[in-house]
């Protein structure tokens, strides 16, 4: 692997740690809510009682955590975790955005009665802002000049 300045590794490591904590926080909220404890007041965005979604947030958190640990030790392979973390965060964020668009279509285009009370806030779940927050990671990843194979 190429040599990356230690300062940059530390900066990316801290950013990964912040993302890891946030993903863990929101993942835990969804799982806690699913277990029957109403913790929605703790969140600024919509929280569902959804164990599977909570699990996916925890997985993303763990990937970023692994990125943090490696980069903090100045091990460049930490970027692998940052890359996959960004990828999984993007999959989840884009998926939720598509769900928002689909439900918007149901409400305003198809005039589906089941969606009469729907507002975009209902589908603005944590994965969307967290995905947008993770996008700056593209900058250090691009500077790695990766080859495909």
């Amino acid at each position: 692997m190429v040599n990356v300045p230690e300062k940059r590794n530390k900066a990316v490591a801290i950013f990964s740690l912040i993302l890891s904590i946030l993903y863990f926080f929101f993942g835990s909220l969804e799982i806690t809510f699913w277990l029957g404890f109403d913790v929605t007041y703790l969140s600024p965005v919509t929280i569902y009682s959804d164990a599977f979604a909570g699990f996916t947030l925890i997985v993303t958190s763990l990937i970023f955590a692994a990125g943090f640990i490696n980069l903090w030790r100045n091990e460049v392979r930490g970027y692998s975790y940052v890359l996959v973390g960004l990828f999984v965060a993007s999959v989840l964020g884009i998926l939720q955005f598509l769900i928002l668009v689909a439900n918007w279509t149901e409400r305003y285009v198809l005039l589906n009665e089941d969606f009469a009370d729907w507002t975009w806030i209902d589908d603005f779940r944590a994965v969307i802002p967290l995905w947008i927050m993770s996008l700056p990671l593209i900058v250090p990843l691009r500077s790695l000049k990766m080859r495909r194979v």
Partner: protein, 672 residues
């Protein structure tokens, strides 16, 4: 590609190559939409043919199965070489992965040995470059004696040059047939066998040098060919045995000796044409593999991506499904009210359009699922998923190679069961076939979508995902039981190649999605519509009588006591019975039995079932007898009625037990 209508020159071209060299992309680039998919004669391995018009020539392209060599070890290899020997295509385009030249040239050498007129398409030149390989294609052309066309198939680079070379070869009747010489002893042996074969006129149409090598390699298929062609075949075999035993004094194993010699030749060629440039940058593939195949994170990431696939399948596709529903409901209503006589209006409106509509509204879900799976497959991720699962599969008594057939089962169990042919060990293969129907195929998806939508609307995606997980868990448990009881022993070890990660091309994703999704449309237009019309007819005999008194009603009443403990009425019993033809019929028949239209189906179903009994019903549909096509393929692949009936019986019993267990647990924890 230049397209013209008149084309007097006809060229027959076969595409050969190792798996994962971009053969399908090349085939799609050449043929576009003009493709035909069928089966190779006598077997159920898919055969793709297509047509490409270039300048004044019509090029017929046949896509041979992906193979590593031309031995007779697998059905794919036999198909490929039989095609080249028997059909004698004008040209064999050997697609070679430039980033993995040494391994790929093994097949090239065997193709040349077979006497094929070969053109090499040196694909993935961009990857080779990124790996730091510099390939002197001119020198390669000179050393190997056949034209070499560099290419990057996903970007369509090299396609025109390939067509140009094909047409030029045909027009000028050029032949590229280079003979590579083995060691002196082997060459002497080949010549002696060849001399023996030359005595027989019947063999003159074959490449005798190739036949000689294959006989020395003890190739069963070539021996069969000799037996078929020559009455006095024993004379040949005894001569060959004599020559072989002489050679075996020097070489312990002649198959290994020939393979070593081929690799010696390849290594000489590669050392002269490839130079490696040192590069320091990390590779995308190694970086992604570090995490995707991670000991602890690999499987959770796989589950996360699969969860995303099912959310995408259910929620994002929902508006399109709803739009289809509106269209079909309106059409059914128009037909029912306007077509006379009344019974005909009812047949067309409620029976055909209504029933079919209830199947077609799920087409977007099915297409979305295949779209997501195609992206994962074409990107190279699914191979990593198989790698991650191998260790678990092995511990659970399944072979690592079983993962791909099981995963394919999410699409359709028929091709999935066919794909178990790649598993060499018979016990491993039988276990994989028997548990494959437990993998939830796309035909079951409409049932889940309907019931999850009615009873678990906010968490429908999760409920559907849980069905897929239940299928996987049951498949693993049954495999474990089968391994411990009927098929004792350990599964054999698994070796697989990891293709580099790629950004899938839009074209290949669309083609893959359409190929798989269109099967659903075809089925809906044939077997499903026939089944639904039959149910409509049975539900209208005697005409005008209440449905409970119709033939289907009486039959349902007979079945009803079996499912009464689960709270399912006679209509559900009938739907499950007809679901044996194809699982999609379950929904269509419910639509007929309850009456068409969303209001008339959603209402009665939500009255007839509780969320608990609906969940149990979804589990039953997941597990109970596979459709008639799957039963047929189990019979074909196991060659045994015993195993076919076993599969049907154990799945019926298991479905009943699991549904009962769900109801019981639900009652115990107060969910009823």
């Amino acid at each position: 590609m230049m397209l013209r209508t008149v084309s007097p020159l006809k060229v027959k071209v076969a595409l050969a190559g190792n798996p994962n060299v971009g053969k399908s992309v090349v085939f799609n680039n050449l043929t576009g939409a003009r493709q035909h998919v069928g089966n190779w004669p006598g077997v159920t391995v898919e055969k793709k043919e297509g047509l490409c018009t270039f300048e004044d020539a019509k090029i017929e392209v046949v896509d041979l199965p992906g193979i590593y060599s031309l031995t007779a070890n697998s059905i794919d290899e036999i198909i490929a070489r039989n095609y080249i020997v028997e059909e004698a295509p004008d040209i064999v385009v050997d697609i070679v992965d430039a980033s993995n030249l040494e391994r790929n040239l093994y097949l090239t050498l065997q193709l040349l040995e077979l006497g094929a007129n070969v053109i090499i398409l040196l694909n993935m030149m961009d990857l080779a470059e990124e790996k730091g390989f510099k390939i002197d294609t001119k020198k390669l052309e000179k050393l190997i004696g056949v034209p070499v066309v560099p290419s990057v198939a996903p970007k369509r680079i090299g396609m025109n040059e390939l067509c140009q070379k094909i047409v030029e070869t045909k027009k000028k009747s050029l032949t590229y047939k280079k003979i590579f010489k083995y060691s002196k002893d082997l060459e002497e042996g080949i010549e002696r066998v060849r001399y023996v074969l030359e005595q027989y006129e019947e063999l003159s149409k074959y490449n005798l040098r190739w036949l000689a090598i294959k006989l020395l390699e003890d190739d069963d298929e070539v021996k069969k060919l000799i037996v078929k062609s020559i009455s006095n075949y024993n004379a040949i075999f005894s001569e060959v045995e004599k020559i072989k035993s002489e050679l075996e004094k020097k070489y312990d194993d002649l198959i290994v000796a020939f393979a070593d010699e081929r690799y010696r030749i390849i290594s000489q060629i590669v050392s002269q044409v490839v130079t490696k440039v040192q590069v320091e940058e990390p590779t995308l593939t190694s970086m992604l593999d570090e995490v995707f195949t991670h000991k602890y994170l690999g499987i959770p990431i796989f589950l996360t991506l699969m969860w995303a696939v099912f959310q995408f399948t259910f929620t994002v596709a929902a508006p399109i499904s709803d739009l289809f529903d509106m269209i079909f409901s309106s059409l059914a209503e128009i037909a029912s009210t306007n077509i006379k006589p009344t019974w005909l209006g009812s047949l067309i409106g409620e029976g055909i359009i209504g029933g079919l509509g209830f199947v077609f509204v799920f087409a977007p879900n099915i297409f979305f699922m295949f779209l997501a799976l195609s992206i994962l497959e074409d990107s190279g991720y699914l191979a990593r998923a198989a790698f991650n699962m191998d260790k678990i599969m092995y511990k659970l008594g399944l072979h690592g190679k079983s993962f791909i057939p099981l995963l394919l089962g999410f699409g359709c169990n028929v091709p999935a069961i066919m794909s178990t042919r790649t598993i060499d060990n018979e016990n491993d293969r039988l276990i994989t076939i028997l548990v494959n129907p437990l993998m939830s195929c796309s035909a079951r998806l409409p049932v889940y979508v309907l019931f999850a939508g009615i009873f678990f609307s906010a968490y429908a995606g999760n409920v559907i995902f849980s069905m897929y997980l239940l299928g996987i868990v049951l498949a693993v448990l049954i495999a474990l039981i089968l391994r411990k009881t009927l098929f004792p022993g350990r599964p054999s070890y698994f070796v697989m190649e990891m293709p580099p990660y790629m950004v899938p091309t839009l074209r290949s994703i669309v083609v893959h999605t359409w190929e798989r999704g269109s099967m659903f449309i075809k089925k809906a237009g044939t077997i499903i519509i026939a089944g639904l019309v039959a149910i409509w007819a049975l539900s209208n005999i005697p005409y005008g009588a209440p449905i409970e008194e119709s033939l289907v009603g009486q039959f349902g009443k007979l079945l009803e006591p079996i499912f009464a403990p689960f709270g399912w009425d006679w209509r559900i019993a009938v739907a499950l019975f007809f679901g044996f033809i194809a699982k999609e019929i379950v929904i269509g028949s419910l639509a007929i039995l309850y009456g068409t239209g969303e209001e008339t189906l959603y209402g009665p179903i939500s009255n007839a079932l509780t969320p608990l009994s609906a969940y149990a019903l979804m589990a039953f549909v997941l597990i109970y007898v596979p459709c008639i096509a799957t039963v047929g393929i189990i019979k074909q692949e196991t060659g045994s009625w015993k195993w076919t009936l076993f599969a049907i019986a154990y799945e019926l019993i298991l479905a009943y037990l699991v549904a009962g267990f769900i109801i019981l647990i639900g009652h115990l924890i107060g969910l009823a």
